[in-house]
Amino acid sequence: MTAPQAVMPSGLGARLTSLRSSVAANNAAPIYLVLLVVFLVAWLVVSIAGGHFLTLDNLTSMLVRSVALGIVAAGQTVVILAGSLDLSVAYLISVSALVSSLIMNGDPNRMVPGVLAVLGIGVLVGLTNGVIVTKLRVNAFIATLGVGLILRGLLNAGFDNFAGKVAPQFEVFGYGSIGPLPVSVIVLAVAMLGVWFLLRSTRFGHHVYAVGGNEETARLSGVRSHRVIIGAHIVCSVTAVLTGLFLVARIRAGAPWIGPDGGYDLESIAAVVVGGTALAGGRGGVWGTLAGVLILAIIDNAFNALQFNSFVKDVVRGVIIVAAVAIYAQRERRAGR
C-alpha cells in the first residue's frame, strides 16, 4: 500500500471530531449515563441505610474488586467483537492461578518462570480455541465450553484445594500501591488502555471489527479472517491468565475453584454486552465494557454494604443486564430504519 508519508498536523478540532465519532461508534456514551445513575442510586440507598459509600476506602475496594473481572472482560471484548466468544476463561483463570502458584512455591527467583509459563499456557489455549472455531468450524460457544471442560477435568484430576504458594514479592500485584493508587488498579488501566489501543490503532484491531461485522466482506477485501479470529482468542486467553495471576496474588495460593467460583465466564460476557458491544460482533468497544464491569461492581458493593440477601442482588443484576441489551436492541432497530 502506498500510504502518503507526511504526518498531518491535525488540529485540535479534527482530533475532537475524531474522538467524538469514535465514542459514538463505540456506542459507549449512554452506558456511562447508566453508570452514573447506578452510582447515584447506590450512594443514596447505602447512605440512607446508614452505610458508607462515598469514602476513599470503599471506592478503592470497589475498584480492586473490578480488577479481576475487568482484565478478562477486556479480552472478552476483543473476542466478541471478532464475532466469537470464550467460555473457557473461568477454568483458564484457575489454571493460571494454580500453575503459577505451584511453580513459584514461595521462591522469589521462580516468579518470572512462573509468570512466563502461564502466559505460554494462555497463548496455547487461545490458539486451540481459535483453531477449533475457525478450522474445525465448531461454533464458538461449544468449542470454548469444551476446552473449558477439558481444563476443568485436568484441574480436578490433580487438585481439590490450595496448592503451592506465590512468592511474597508477587503479592505486590494484589496488595501493593504506588502512592494512593493500588497496583492492581494500574494494571487494570493498562489492560484497558492496551486493548483500546489494539482495537483502535492496529491493523489487527481494525480487522477484528471487520471480521465481526461481516466475515465475508472482510474476506473478500483480503483480510485473513481465520488469523484474526485466532488472534482475538489468544488476546482473550492472555487476559484470562492475567486475571488468574491477579487473583493468586490476592489469595496467595492457587486453587482449582478460583475461576469458576467467580463466574468469570458468564460475568465477563455480561459486562461486555451491558457495555454495548454487540454479541454478534463488529460493534462496540472496551470503554463500554469498563462501564459494564463498574456497574456490576457497584451493585455488588451496595448490596454488601446493605447486607441484603444475595437473591435480591441477582435479581437486580439480571434486570440490568436484560434491560441494557433490550435498550441497545431498540436503538439498533430505530437506527436500522
Binding site: 500500500m1 500510504a3 502518503p4 504526518v7 498531518m8 491535525s10 471530531t17 475524531s18 465519532s21 459514538a24 461508534a25 490503532s201 492496529t202 491493523r203 489487527f204 484491531g205 481494525h206 480487522h207 471489527y209 471487520a210 461485522g213 461481516n214 466482506t217 472482510a218 473478500l220 477485501s221 483480503g222 483480510v223 463488529g282 460493534r283 437506527a335
Partner: protein, 505 residues
C-alpha cells in the same frame, strides 16, 4: 465504427457458463472502451449478473477469454480482479455499517506504520478520493457508514472502487433504491468518471436511464447476446423487442371462462405503506388468477407482504368477501383464509428439517387445531395426492425434496387451512421446466374450485400465460391493468414508464 478513437480496454469473448448442467451464459461477447458507459440490458434470468460476476472474479467461466488492457486475464478471486483494476458495485452493498467511511474504503489495505494504522493518512487519502468526486462536503472520512443515506453509501462504494485505480467499473442496477434527485447526482458522478477514462458497464432494465447515460447497449436474453447497438441509433421499442421477443415454448392451462369468475374475494382501496406503496386499488375475484407484474423494486413483494400482514398497510381499506377487515399480522391473514406462497420457500415457506407431514400442518396447528394432531381429521396424505406429490413419503424431511415438490408442500400447508385467497410470489422460481407445468395446472385448478389467486411473477411468459388479468406496478403504485394474453412489450412499457415511446413509435 469508422472514427473510433480508442480500442476497448476490456474484451470478453465467447463466455460460457453453466450451473449444474443448466447453461446460464452461452458464447457471450462484450467489450467496453475507456470513457464509455456500456449498458447491459435483459430480463431477470437473462444472465447479466452471472456475466458480471465472472468479470469480477466471483465465478469462473466454463469457456471463453477475457482481455484487459491487451493482456489475457483470469481472476480466481475478487481481490485479483480489483487489483487488476476491475471493480463491481453490487446492488447489495458490501460496506461495514459500524465502521467509518475511511475504514471501509481501505479495509484490508490500511495505510500503516508497522502494525499501526496510520489513521491520519487513511482519512486524508479518503478525503482526496471524496474530493475528486466532489462529495467531500457531504461525506466525511470519519463518519460511520450507518449514518449515511443509501445514495451516500453507494458513493462510498464508488470511491472504494476508485481507490483501486479501477479501469473498469461494473454497476449492477445502481438506481434501484435511489430517488430521482439522487439518480441525477449519480449520473453526474458517472459522467465525471467517464471524463476520466473509466470504462463503465451499467446493468439496468430501466430503459430511460440507458438513453440518459449510455453510449452503447448490449441486450442479453436467455444467456445469449442478442445484439450490441449504439444508443444514439436505437429506440426503446427496438430494445424491448430484443429483450422479450421469444417463442412461447411452454404450455399453460386455459384461462378462466367469464362464467367461472365470481365476486371480489379480496379488495384493496387506497392501500399504502409509508415509503413503499401508495394508492393501491386492486380486486381479486373468485375463480381468477390476477397477475402482478413490475420491475424489481416496483413494490411487488411489498404488496404481497402488505396483503398478508407481514408489513401491513398503514393507509386504505382491505375487504375480504365484502367485509372490511384489518390484517395486522400473518396470523390474522391465515385466519381470514389467506395463504402466501413466498418467493423464497426455503427460508419463508418451509421448515427444512421437518417432515412433509409436519410442514403441511404447520399453519393449521398454529391456529390451535392441536386436537387434530397427527393427520387425524386432516387427510394430509390425500391432500398431497391431489397435489400429485410423488416420490416422497409423509415422513421425509422436506429439505431432501425437489424444488417442485417443496412448492407443493408449501401449497399443502395453505390448503390444509382451507385457504381461499392465495398469494403466489414467483411461484415457479428455481423449479425445473417439467415441474413448472405441474404447479401451473394446480394453480388453475385451485382457481376453478373457487379460490382467488394473486400471482406475482417477473417471468413475462408466466405472467401472460397464467393471468386472467395483469396489474403492472411501478414505483410503488399501480401503473395500469392489462387483459389476459397481452403482449410482453405492453407490460414492459407499463413497467418502465415508456408508454409515450410506445405510442409514438
Amino acid at each position: 465504427m469508422p472514427d473510433q478513437p480508442v480500442g476497448p480496454i476490456l474484451e470478453m469473448r465467447g463466455i460460457t457458463k453453466g450451473f449444474f448442467g443448466v447453461p446460464v451464459l452461452q458464447d457471450v461477447d462484450i467489450d467496453v472502451r475507456p470513457g464509455e458507459v456500456h449498458a447491459i440490458l435483459g430480463e431477470n434470468g437473462a444472465g447479466k449478473s452471472t456475466l458480471m460476476k465472472i468479470l469480477a472474479g466471483a465465478h469462473q467461466p466454463d469457456a471463453g477469454t477475457m482481455v484487459l488492457d491487451g493482456q489475457e486475464v483470469r481472476f480466481g478471486h475478487p481481490i485479483e480482479a480489483q487489483n487488476a483494476g476491475v471493480s463491481i458495485i453490487y446492488q447489495e452493498f458490501t460496506l461495514l455499517r459500524d465502521r467509518t467511511v475511511a475504514q471501509n474504503i481501505y479495509l484490508g489495505r490500511e495505510p500503516h506504520r508497522g502494525p499501526f494504522v496510520d489513521t491520519a493518512a487513511m482519512e486524508r487519502a479518503t478525503d482526496e478520493l471524496l474530493r475528486s468526486l466532489n462529495v467531500e462536503a457531504a461525506i466525511r472520512p470519519n463518519r460511520a457508514v450507518r449514518s449515511l443515506s443509501i445514495a451516500q453509501q453507494q458513493t462510498v462504494e464508488i470511491a472504494k472502487a476508485l481507490s483501486f485505480k479501477s479501469k473498469v467499473l461494473v454497476m449492477d442496477e445502481p438506481t434501484a433504491a435511489l430517488s430521482p434527485r439522487e439518480v441525477a447526482a449519480l449520473f453526474d458522478l458517472v459522467r465525471l468518471l467517464r471524463e476520466r477514462g473509466v470504462a463503465i458497464l451499467y446493468i439496468s432494465h430501466r430503459l430511460r436511464e440507458i438513453f440518459d447515460i449510455a453510449q452503447r447497449v448490449t441486450v442479453l436474453k436467455d444467456g445469449r447476446r442478442v445484439g450490441t447497438l449504439d444508443v444514439a441509433a436505437t429506440t426503446s421499442r427496438d430494445l424491448v423487442k430484443m429483450m422479450v421477443g421469444r417463442d412461447l415454448d411452454h404450455y399453460f392451462p386455459p384461462h378462466a371462462a367469464p362464467a367461472d369468475v365470481g365476486e371480489a374475494r379480496l379488495a384493496v382501496r387506497g392501500g399504502g405503506v409509508s415509503g413503499l406503496l401508495h394508492d393501491i386499488h386492486i380486486e381479486v375475484r373468485r375463480g381468477e388468477i390476477l397477475g402482478i407484474g413490475g420491475l424489481a423494486g416496483s413494490g411487488r413483494t411489498e404488496l404481497a407482504q402488505a396483503l398478508f400482514g407481514v408489513r401491513p398497510f398503514d393507509q386504505g381499506e382491505v375487504e375480504v368477501d365484502g367485509k372490511s377487515v384489518r390484517v395486522r399480522s400473518a396470523r390474522q391473514a391465515v385466519r381470514r383464509r389467506m395463504g402466501f406462497v413466498t418467493e423464497d420457500r426455503k427460508i419463508e415457506g418451509l421448515v427444512l428439517p421437518l417432515s412433509v407431514r409436519n410442514n403441511s400442518l404447520l399453519a393449521l396447528r398454529s391456529l390451535g387445531s392441536f386436537l387434530r394432531r397427527g393427520s387425524g381429521g386432516i387427510p394430509v396424505a390425500e391432500l398431497l395426492r391431489t397435489l400429485e406429490l410423488r416420490g416422497a413419503g409423509l415422513e421425509r424431511e422436506v429439505r431432501f425434496l425437489s424444488g417442485g415438490n417443496q412448492q407443493k408442500v408449501v401449497l399443502a400447508k395453505w390448503l390444509a387451512c382451507e385457504a381461499q385467497i392465495l398469494i403466489f410470489d414467483e411461484p415457479t422460481r428455481g423449479i425445473d421446466v417439467g415441474a413448472k407445468a405441474g404447479i401451473h395446472d394446480l394453480m388453475r385448478q385451485l382457481a376453478r374450485n373457487g379460490a382467488a389467486i394473486l400471482m406475482i411473477s417477473s417471468e413475462l411468459p408466466e405472467l401472460i400465460g397464467m393471468s386472467d388479468r395483469i396489474i403492472v406496478l411501478r414505483n410503488g403504485t399501480v401503473a395500469g391493468e392489462l387483459p389476459a394474453g397481452s403482449a410482453e412489450s405492453d407490460i414492459m412499457f407499463l413497467a418502465t414508464g415508456e408508454q409515450d415511446v410506445a405510442g409514438a413509435a
